[in-house]
Amino acid sequence: MKKQNVLGRLFGYMGKFKITMALSMIMAAFSAVVNLSAFVCVYHVAKEIVQSWGDFSALNQAYLTELGWQAVFRISMAFGTYGMALLFSHITAFNTVARIRISLIEHIGQLPLGYHSINPSGKLRKIIEKNTDNLETLISHHIPDFVQSAVLPIAFLAFMFLYDWRLSVVCLIPILIGFILLASMLKGESEGFVQQVQTAGEDIGNAATEYVRGISVVKTFGQTASSFQRYKAAVKEYADFMTKYSFSMENAFSAYNTIINGIFFFLIPGGIILFNLGKDLERTILTFIFFAVLIPLVVTILTKIMHSSSNLMIAEASLVAIDKILSEKPLPTAVRPGTPNGYSIVLDHVSFAYEAGADKALDDVSLEIKPGTITALVGESGGGKSTIANLIARFWDTQAGTVRIGNVDVRDMDYEEWMKQVSIVFQDTNLFKMSILDNVAFYKPGATREEVLRALHLAQCDDILEKLPNGADTVIGTKGVYLSGGEMQRITLARAILKDAPVVLLDEATAFADAENEHLIQKALDELLRGKTVLMIAHRLSTVIHANQICVLEHGKIVERGTHQELLKASGIYAHMFEEYQNSISWKIGGAAVC
């Protein structure tokens, strides 16, 4: 039933390549039948011989030779069609995998950006690449094999009527036992085993990660014991588990391999008893020989499915992860997008939690950001500063309350249109592997070269362009092109300057830029922020003393708000933070400040 399920879902992903899959399956089935027929040739050889018993010189040499070549030819046909089946199944597999990958990519692009904050790119990439690889093997090899293993018993039944149903029934017994054994082994595997292997695998993975990460500590503190112990225990537990599991399957596997190779054990008494019954002897002898010849084919195919079937489980797990991504809901689009009247930003009694049941990251927050002003968010990490910015940029939608831009609910705005009006700075400083020019023009594809160069100039990037081999045409990521974090930041600032969006969401860098870069970044920011509506997440309080509005966040609530002067006068949390801050900047290593 589970098998049906996975395969059924896979067929859904195949699209028009269902046709090649069907072709592959037909070929595989055909191959199995032709293969069977090759053995019929061998049977005919035996038949000729048996019938000329006593005087072999009367045998028709030419006929026998022809039968010999017939056998070879049919085997070739069988292999050829199986090869064709594999070719078609591979065409299907490669294309299906590509289709799944592309739909994953497209779907991921539709998801709220918050999804990407939670799911690291490495994890998503693994699902897009590795999980689909598992499906590839399933489609390309295992499906044709499954078809063969299903067709063969049917073909067998067909031959049964042609030759001798009694011996056929006898030979079907071990095959049936084999299937039952296989089913029970699979059941053992599916029931909790996959889960357990996964858990054991995760344990050892975590232990290995911790061990490798901790090596530097282990080395500098001369410690070898504890983290190594934990790792060792996990490794041992995993190996023991796998061995124990394998050993528990020992008898089942041995029995399976014995039984599928043991058809002769059923054929012999069947044949002898029939012979001893003394009816229609010639036919009995011939059928006996026919079956003796046929056995290996059955063995080959049954061995193959033993290997394939455990793969089904892996494929299933892979598919579950893929389906999970594809079932994530994309950001709902506005049915009738409203046009904002200016760019005042209002948060109206907004509450938000990252997960259902988790603590609220924002709890009934109201805030107004007037056009052309700067609002600074300060407070301890985890207080909700970034959440506010994320909600304005619609990384997520609020759970209660509304975010309004120019009196229009962000959810009622065309998302792409809104994103054109916002620059998000410092979220990440990744650049694309394209020229600096193209990187900067990213938000404004139609920009002229002059416009881009001007933006780069305003973002204080002249020194970067000078040192690079091809100036603004230098491709990022090429050999020998090294940019420091501060330099990358300036290029992304040039991007934002060129975009010239009226709203800027700014997360002040916590990473360290060196003195020169810091200075240049500040100058670039001056250019960017001029005349804009700005929301800034601040870490260094000195930068925001001229902000029009400073909000102090604590546990998802705005606990203080006002200008720098007002807040200092209030002698509350902000005043205390500012005092601490001033202490910290006057710190001198090795100075008298040490108590």
């Binding site: 050889v45 011989i49 018993w53 072999f56 010189s57 040499q61 085997i75 090869g83 594999l86 591979h90 590509a98 592309i102 497209e106 692009g109 950006l113 990407h116 790119s121 990439r125 993975g205 290995a208 990660t209 911790e210 061990y211 990460r213 530097s216 080395k219 410690q223 070898t224 504890s226 060792k232 020992e250 391999n257 043991g262 054990f265 012999i268 002898i272 003394g278 002898i285 020989i289 003796a292 290996p296 700067i374 407070g379 985890g382 994103m419 054109k420 979220q427 990744n430 360290f512 003195a515 020169e516 810091e518 001056d526 870490h539 000195s542 925001v544 003393i545 900047i585 290593i589 040490v594």
Partner: protein, 581 residues
């Protein structure tokens, strides 16, 4: 050879060989019924045509059949047991060997390789290898052995039919070799294209926030999709080539069946062989190629696993750092004497000489990429210098075993490593035989005590993977507590560690201030205001030492330090505004 490729222990190699032999016995046992069947068929025919009409004795044949069945079961079981035993044991052994090896590598190696890369060797590559051990290797060996054994044994029975049977096998070997040659080239190109897909996928995912807010999303998706699709023709071509040659070789193998029929019948007509012999060869011919086919398939699998075993090999072959153990320097001046150093082909430091004196604070200053953190790491032998020497108290550190050397250092960098264990044990790493009092004292000195008290189980709270339940500043202070406990004479410090948690900056600063008293201190400095009272400031630019002296002395001259210091003071005054100029 297999032992070396698969990194087996002697014991493991032996067991795998034994398992292969048992599996060969199993395979041969599966061929045995052929004799039985041929004999029965012969008896039936003889009986029938002699008109004897006597019945055939069932029990004798069935008894033998049962014995063969039992042999099959037993041989398979033994082989299976040995396979999985080895696979389990080697899996464990290799993971321990790799872990031990990683421990002996220079710290720089760990910095250079990313974490997931190294763990994936321990995890994925070893798993691949274990799979090879549990199935592929034995089936490969036993497949070939069975094929050869069958051909050899049958030669004694009738060499002419045997030759007919095996005539085409050498050709197969040739075709297979040829196919490998052809497909390798296609494969290389495929790998290249797959890599491009990976890269662009990674780029796509990393930049998704940028893309989402730009209009180019569709274009970019289409571009990735194009790359994904571009891989397909090459893959199909490869499959066609590889599949075709494999199908051809398997076919060529089986031409032997035709030969057996033709040669056999001719000989039978000529009365040169008996019927039973002919039947026997006929029955054998339909199944003798299976083990060989399976061997070929497993060979393919082994070859594709070579990538994994190669990665394991590379790691195991990486040179370890060695040196004298148990030596203890008495003085702790750190001297750099004409030190030059580069990663790969890129030079990072050129001819740097200076001394960080015991009991003094030496600060390293310069623009990013100037080499200050490299210098700091060379002081602790994360790498070995390429030219010049680094010495402590006059002893060349290249001659001291890393673990002995590192006893003298406390290192406080930004990348704090914590274990998924209690706070108590995490601090205790600083000194294994520390008492509870000492640990609490260290925590207090590092200003950790107050946040630890707030945790549900205090010092016995488990802090999650790499301390993920703690804030950056708390993690940093725990690392400082460790350093207090260790109380090493040399301290390497990255000043930016103090700013990892802006809300708690002053607390970390206080902790650092206490930690570095009366030690040899080498600091990577970013905020120049914080180092004005240091004993010595070393200014670096593009890997060269350009200035050195105290703050006051350096400020007297219009050099790099002067410029950086002024710029930073300006930056400190900067505030955001929407109305600049």
């Amino acid at each position: 050879m297999l032992k070396k490729i698969l990194h087996l222990s002697d014991q493991g190699a032996r067991t795998i060989k034994e398992a292969s032999l048992w599996l060969t016995l199993f395979n041969l046992a599966t061929l045995l019924p052929v004799i039985l069947l041929a004999l029965i068929a012969d008896e039936m025919i003889t009986n029938y045509f002699d008109g004897g009409r006597s019945s055939i004795s069932l029990w004798g044949y069935w008894g033998i059949a049962l014995v063969i069945l039992a042999v099959m079961f037993h041989t398979y079981k033994v082989a299976y047991h040995k396979e999985y035993l080895t696979s389990g044991e080697e899996d464990m052994r290799l993971r321990m060997v790799l872990a031990d090896k990683i421990r002996k590598l220079p710290l720089s190696y760990l910095g250079k390789r990313n974490l997931s890369d190294l763990t994936s060797i321990i995890m994925d590559d070893v798993t691949t290898l274990a799979h090879i051990l549990s199935q592929t290797a034995t089936e490969l060996i036993s497949g070939f052995l069975t094929g050869i054994a069958a051909v050899v044994i049958l030669a004694f029975y009738d060499w002419r039919l045997d030759i007919s049977l095996a005539a085409c096998l050498p050709i197969v070997a040739g075709v297979m070799a040829l196919s490998k040659l052809i497909s390798e080239r296609t494969n290389k190109k495929n790998k290249q294209r797959k890599l491009e897909v990976s890269d662009s996928l990674q780029e796509y995912l990393e930049n998704i926030k940028v893309l989402r807010t730009a209009e180019k999303m569709r274009d970019y998706q289409r571009q990735v999709a194009r790359k994904i699709k571009r891989v397909i023709p090459g893959l199909i071509l490869y499959e066609l080539l590889a599949g075709l040659t494999i199908a051809i070789s398997y076919n060529i193998m089986r031409i032997g069946l035709g030969f057996v029929i033709i040669v056999g019948s001719t000989m039978l007509i000529a009365g040169k062989i008996s019927l039973v012999k002919f039947l026997l060869f006929l029955f054998v011919a339909v199944r003798v190629y299976e083990p060989l086919t399976s061997a070929c398939e497993n060979l393919g699998e082994l070859i594709s696993a070579l990538v994994s075993t190669g990665r394991i090999h590379d790691l195991l072959a990486y040179p370890e750092q060695t040196g004298q153990e148990g030596v203890a320097p008495q003085e702790f001046d750190i001297s750099f004497d004409h030190v030059s150093f580069g990663y790969n082909d890129e030079d990072v430091l050129h001819d740097v000489s200076f001394t960080a004196k015991q009991g003094e604070i030496t600060a390293l200053v310069g623009p990013s990429g100037c080499g200050k953190s490299t210098l700091c790491k060379l002081a602790a032998r994360f790498w070995d210098v390429q030219r010049g020497t680094v010495s402590i108290g006059g002893m060349d550190i290249n001659g001291i075993a890393p673990e002995t050397l590192l006893k003298n250092y406390s290192i406080v960098f930004q990348d704090v490593v914590l274990f998924n264990d209690t706070i108590y044990n995490n601090i205790k790493i600083g000194k294994e035989d520390a008492t509870r009092e000492e640990i609490i004292a260290a925590a207090k000195l590092a200003r950790c005590d107050e946040f630890i008290q707030r945790l549900p189980q205090g010092y016995d709270t488990v802090i999650g993977e790499n301390g993920k339940t703690l804030s950056g500043g708390e993690r940093q202070r725990l690392s400082i507590a460790r350093a207090f406990l260790k109380d090493a004479p040399i301290i390497l410090l990255d000043e930016s560690t103090a700013s990892i948690d802006p809300e708690n900056e002053t607390k970390i600063q206080e902790a650092i201030g206490k930690l570095i008293q009366n030690k040899t201190v080498l600091i990577i400095a970013h905020k120049l205001r914080s180092i004005v009272e240091c004993d010595k400031i070393v200014v670096l630019q593009e890997g060269r030492l350009v200035e050195t002296g105290t703050h006051d002395k350096l400020m007297e001259q219009p050099g790099l330090y002067h410029k950086l210091y002024s710029l930073q003071n300006e930056s400190l005054e900067w505030t955001v505004t929407t109305q600049s100029e």
